[in-house]
Amino acid sequence: METSFSTHTTGANVGGVSMKNIFFNLGYFIKEAMKIIKFNLLSNIFSLLGTGLILFLLGMVLVGGSISNQLVENLKEEAEVSAYFDENMDNQECLKLVETVKDMDGVRDALLIDETDAYNKMEKVLGEEAKVLALFDENPFEAYIEIRIHLDTMDSVLEKVENLEGVNYVRDNRAVLERMQAITEGLKFLGYLVIVAVGITTLVIISHMIRQGIYNNKDQINTLRLLGAPNSFIGFPYVIIGLLLTMGGGILAIALIVLLINQGYGQVTASLSFIPLPPSEELISEMVTLLLGVSILLGILGSLFGLSSIKKNR
């Protein structure tokens, strides 16, 4: 019987494996990856769960960071100065003063709050405790100009307003805002620490699983090496394994985060409605992109780290 064999051709090489080799063998690489995973199924399942929980922790920190950023941005817009003026000024003079303030650089808006409005505002702030205001025979609140400003320009606006004729006293809420900002910076730092911890832990887990897979398949790897297989061909299934484990963990983390956001938003809006939250769809979309991206990156890095043990042999 006549038999025929074709001689091989080689295409362009990328890191020892041609694009042709990758394309022609994609099914093989995926099958090999699944075989290696199945060989140590329980360990791999626990790795996936562990990675998922770690990424969920990362997700929670990122959600917290996103919400606190939103809070600070909103609070920045709440930066305001209250300018108390001479009570002998008539209405015309007051309105002129308001216009002068409005024209200043850094001022977003200026509003004249008369005594009645000031009383009503305080009633709203006190809520159920507002009945204490009934103890006063007269309205204790003065009229003032409420000036909405950009937080960054607070110093210059304060100076200008203080120097205006007719202005007796100026009060700002800078201390509160600066405290909020400090808390946010603290949370950001904590977030960075968590990211580093998540990265290291995931890399360790994945590289350990890869090395275990390599050890379990050392005979096959040795045979492939003797047949002339490049390291990248031998290692490709393990890169797929790393990706599958971390992406599986990432998907688990995303599912938990989405559940947390949906549940959490409901509870926060019901009981703490004054806390400004970013739109949940936007937050979810941001988390999905971030967590998937991080899991893919960690999967590839973890696999390459684990594969570094192959390269030492012939």
Partner: protein, 224 residues
């Protein structure tokens, strides 16, 4: 094809496996390396494969020096070699077909062509009825033939067979030798190590190298 000059091989444990070996193998040549167990036959094949490096002397296989710094290029040379290992080194849990295809996966051959080559190779070695059998379910002789099919399916320039007749009865051993030598042609050299000299005494058009205690003691070229 292969050129060795003053090659010595000393293993890490101090064993001196080969001493001052000089030999040449031309393209398309059929070579039998004979000698008792422990004489250095397998060590020679390990050197040709780049599994070991000469302790001294120089060795070139297909123009490539076999030295540690060239491991990447040595791996490329291996793709042109069809090895038949003494212990077969078939991949467990895979069929005969999958094992043969494995040797061609990184040669840039399409899936269709790999399957065709593998099928033809398995038919040529007489295993058309065992193509889809798991290798662990094959007999010793059948596993041997899968190993041969794996070696030849990619049309190598050099076939290296280490004791391919070991553990086989006389008739099967002869059959295996005939099979291996049938792959020799102008483009493919075949080197076979064996301690069963009685099986090759009727071989024609071959080079016979007798190794003893790490030395080449005799070299005959029979070309009729």
């Amino acid at each position: 094809m292969i050129e060795a000059k003053g090659v010595t091989l000393k293993y890490h444990d101090g064993t001196l496996a080969l001493k001052n070996i000089d030999l040449q193998v031309k393209p398309g040549e059929l070579v039998f390396i004979t000698g008792p167990s422990g004489s250095g036959k397998t060590s020679l094949l390990k050197l040709f494969m780049g599994m070991e490096y000469p302790t001294s002397g120089s060795l070139n296989v297909m123009g490539q020096p076999i030295i540690p710094s060239k491991i990447g290029k040595i791996r490329k040379i291996r793709r042109k070699i069809g090895p038949v290992f003494q212990e077969f080194k078939l991949i467990a849990g895979r069929t005969a077909m999958e094992n043969v295809i494995m040797s061609m996966r990184f040669l840039g051959i399409s899936s269709r062509q790999r399957k065709e080559n593998a099928r033809n190779a398995l038919i040529r070695v007489g295993l058309e009825h065992k193509i889809l059998s798991l290798v662990e379910n094959l007999s010793w002789g059948e596993a041997q033939r899968v190993a041969i099919a794996r070696a030849v399916a990619r049309k190598p320039s050099l076939i290296l067979a280490d004791e391919p007749t070991g553990n086989l009865d006389h008739d099967n051993a002869l059959h295996i030798l005939e099979l291996l030598t049938s792959f020799q042609d102008n483009n493919t050299a075949v080197i076979i190590t064996t301690h069963a000299t009685h099986l090759i005494e009727n071989q024609k058009n071959a080079t016979f190298i007798h190794v003893s205690e790490g030395n080449i003691v005799k070299e005959d070229h029979l070309h009729k």
